[in-house]
């Protein structure tokens, strides 16, 4: 049971993955909106860079991208890179949906196909375990049970299908 708990992506972790998706999409949108207002930035006109940074859209966009980075680092601390990356791509889907339903832009059939493919890919990954390799941490001596827990986790991760959250072991 402990083992299933260890692999189970808890609600708080889903929140972090949601943060990765939403912050990336929102940050990119704000940034591109702001940059279109300020115009092109070049190395020869550093004043234009400062002007861009003072634009509120750009500033909020940068803050959101920092939030994205924090959430991304958090997610990578407990999940595989190949598990987190599809969550990042879900941001593109979010952007297309916002474009269609909030901004009432036309979304072409090709883009709908793209949305379907990304969503399918995310669904595949989300159905499997978040972590497939245990990394050794030094600071487990104060938690005597955790080593045994890690060992059992390794055994379960060898069979990804059995390690599905809420699977046979719970």
């Amino acid at each position: 049971m402990l083992c299933t708990e260890y692999f189970y992506v808890t609600f708080r972790k889903y929140l972090v993955l949601g943060g990765v998706t939403v912050f990336a999409a929102a940050g990119d949108t704000m940034l591109s909106h702001g940059m279109k207002q300020t115009g092109a930035v070049s190395i020869h006109h550093l004043q234009s860079l400062i002007a861009a940074l003072l634009n509120p859209w750009v500033a909020i966009g940068i803050l959101l991208l920092l939030a994205f980075f924090a959430a991304y680092m958090n997610a990578l601390s407990w999940a595989d890179l190949t598990y987190v990356l599809p969550a990042t791509s879900l941001g593109y889907v979010l952007l297309a949906l916002i474009a269609r339903f909030a901004l009432h832009e036309q979304v072409s059939p090709m883009r709908w196909l793209g949305i379907a493919l990304i969503s399918g890919g995310v669904g595949f990954v989300a159905g499997g375990p978040a972590l497939t390799k245990q990394h050794h941490q030094e600071e487990h001596s104060d938690f005597p049970s955790s080593r045994a827990e890690l060992k059992r986790g390794e055994a379960a991760s060898a069979d990804p299908v059995r390690a599905i959250p809420g699977g046979a072991e719970r």
């Binding site: 680092m73 990578l76 890179l81 190949t82 990356l85 791509s89 889907v93 793209g114 890919g121």
Partner: protein
């Protein structure tokens, strides 16, 4: 000749993005589960462990290089080719690199997912 410039630009972007992601993923695994750390010793322990990790700085550097090389690649080729091609190849490249360097078990499920996402990103941004 223009194609050669565009595609080498794309490959440079993909290379540095993959290096950045892989090194950052390794750094965060060395830091340890942040939720666990938070429960046990709080925010400042996490901040301290991240800032004292050499791979973290390496990862940030590679990501910064990737970002600026994307800006250059965009000036060499069309946005409608460079952006989706780079994003899509990064997904595939990361799956290979995660298997080789991070020893993640990239099983059929994850390959399928990576392929679907790469195709979807290419279609969306195109």
């Amino acid at each position: 000749m223009k194609h050669l410039y565009t595609w080498s630009g794309i490959l440079i972007v993909v290379f540095f993005t993959v290096v950045g992601d892989i090194v950052m993923a390794r750094a965060m695994k060395q830091v340890g589960d942040m939720h666990e750390l938070w429960r046990r010793s709080g925010l400042w322990t996490i901040v301290g462990r991240v800032l004292s990790n050499a791979n973290f700085y390496l990862g940030v550097t590679a990501m910064a290089v990737a970002f600026f090389s994307l800006l250059f690649a965009l000036s060499w080729g069309d946005v409608s080719l460079v952006a989706p091609a780079a994003a899509s190849l990064t997904v595939i490249g990361n799956s290979f690199a995660a298997k080789i360097f991070l020893h993640e078990k990239v099983d059929r499920r994850r390959w399928l997912a990576a392929t679907l996402v790469a195709a979807g990103v290419a279609l969306l941004a195109g």
